[in-house]
Symmetry: C2
Amino acid sequence: MKIICTQEKFKKAILNLERVVSKQNTLPILNNILFEVEKGIFKLSATNLEIGVVIKISAKIEKEGKITIPAKLIGNFITNLPPSGEDNITLEVVDQNLKIKSGHSKAIIKGLPADDFPLIPQKTSDFLINIPSFILKRAITKIITCVGYNETRQELTGVNVIFNPQEIYLAATDSFRLAESQLKLNEENINKEVYETFVKSKNNIIIPSSTLLELSRIIQNETEEGMVKVAIENSQIFFDLEGIKIVSRLINGKYPEYKNIIPKEFKTVIKGEKELIQGVIKMASVFTSGRSGEIGIKINSDEKKVLFEAKSVEVGENSSELKLDIEGPSQEIIFNSKYLLDGLNTLNTSQIALLINSGSSPAALREAGDEKGILAKDYIYIIMPIKN
Amino acid sequence: MKIICTQEKFKKAILNLERVVSKQNTLPILNNILFEVEKGIFKLSATNLEIGVVIKISAKIEKEGKITIPAKLIGNFITNLPPSGEDNITLEVVDQNLKIKSGHSKAIIKGLPADDFPLIPQKTSDFLINIPSFILKRAITKIITCVGYNETRQELTGVNVIFNPQEIYLAATDSFRLAESQLKLNEENINKEVYETFVKSKNNIIIPSSTLLELSRIIQNETEEGMVKVAIENSQIFFDLEGIKIVSRLINGKYPEYKNIIPKEFKTVIKGEKELIQGVIKMASVFTSGRSGEIGIKINSDEKKVLFEAKSVEVGENSSELKLDIEGPSQEIIFNSKYLLDGLNTLNTSQIALLINSGSSPAALREAGDEKGILAKDYIYIIMPIKN
């Protein structure tokens, strides 16, 4: 194998692949990146057996061949390479080594045979949909906090995705709280016939949360204007981001039917500045004790005041009163302060809303649009109160 | 005790004191901050028995008294206090509790009796010198990397300070490398008679490195324009930063006479861009093996080229050639790459110099002034080569 490509493209690819490489090196070759030149195409691959990433790089190809190289080593090398006038990098396999040359720097890195590298599954079917990458990233980022880490319920360690004809729902829950993002699909997003068939046969899947985290990290490094193509086949999901292919296994199992838990309506709606409410709850959380970290919220509808209270035998007590926008009747409700803070952290608007039915039924957080305080419908965070 | 002061001043004081509070709570009261109103003065104190900090805050005093309060708790409270119109905070001791009120927030925090709080030593002598705080901070930051953590040689865990009539030297070494900062004293910096007497009797002390780290952190939070007054008595050092008093024990023992190690002159001087040299060494450090992390530097004086080389049996090999400004004869020298990188990190100029006498004698790093590349004399980093 011998190729010449630009430092910049090579560096970007290596840094994207380095993250995928498994941290637990049960199999040494999983620490490596596969370098491959075949049929005139130069591509780099990494996998941790759950997720695989393949990146094509345009290059001047002088000789075909392949090798695998430790990801950490090549990542460190390329990060610290001094800028040279040329800006090109030459990669050549000699014996079981990769020879690298760029400007006045060169290196020889010992590799492992490419034949031992695990096969990364290839897609054979058509793509279902095509989503703007920054919208997908935003949806993932919001819900990922709620993923459960209970190994006994493997399905909760993933993200549930429900495909409907005109929208997709992404949801995560650890059974104490639940977050759901909605993605609207336009006609131009849909590969019509294929998608309609898919929605009818199997429209409910569970994606490992680590796969979506990796996907959203790769999106961050790429331009925000890109699109992500999605295909599903044989318990595998495929993402395609202009030159970067990601494949991941799906989680087997049935995700809980969470839709029934989300109330259709709420009696009382409080709106206010996110930072102010966050500050008051953080302050109160210091005065809570034990794992439940109870914080009491008393909404006085007549006086338009909300009282946040916490008390601990060891520490002392704390209360703050905020003047907030209140619609609906007065309420008293108790939350776990950690879950409340986690939920507030997922909201990206400066104005937010807390929606309540009663002290014993699920409450919700939503983003409030800055204009006229209209609530955004594309995201909801559900939190169970602690019963008094 | 009952006082009213501004949120801002109180918050700044608490955050400065919080850091001092010991992390190891062998004595629970060392986790606390002492609140004290005596003779019309409101002051807050914290200590970890090695270092003590006392901060005076201007306040409206309604009643004298004292209490101690957990630092972490009050720090968390004040950080998250919502901004109120008033901006004042009321602190009142009721029974063994501190009642706090600010705007629409209030808290009761359980305290411990002030009588159990350790006494923080008070200075009785005059100040020796008065140094611009940002200059002192810069000098500390540069040398602190070299402090040793070998418990068997307690003196190396501190910073050596030598007081001369017209300058001060701060030095640290772990016996593998050494850093020395020089501070010039002007007449207006010196409390003449007291300082002259001190310099004659005892001009060489060892300050715990943690004390200087804390001092430089407090300087960061304060205005850069301030001055630091310094006094020394009875194995204690006192710093006074406009309202903030710091006292620390000194380390007993004799610091190694390091001055002889610093060469007076160097035969070969390489100058170049710090980032470029740093990148090349970082890259090479990946290809070193074992704890010594050997990196070879070959200076070719005739061709004005410097070759950086590293080789490891497990990983492979790497070399980079840089065109740098070279004065003096060719040299070959081997360093521990970690020590070289640590040294480069302490330099704040974009151009730096590596100074060498031979492959077996101490080498040095210095900052190179951006104009005409004149070397700064107020700081030197000495590194021992690895003998071939």
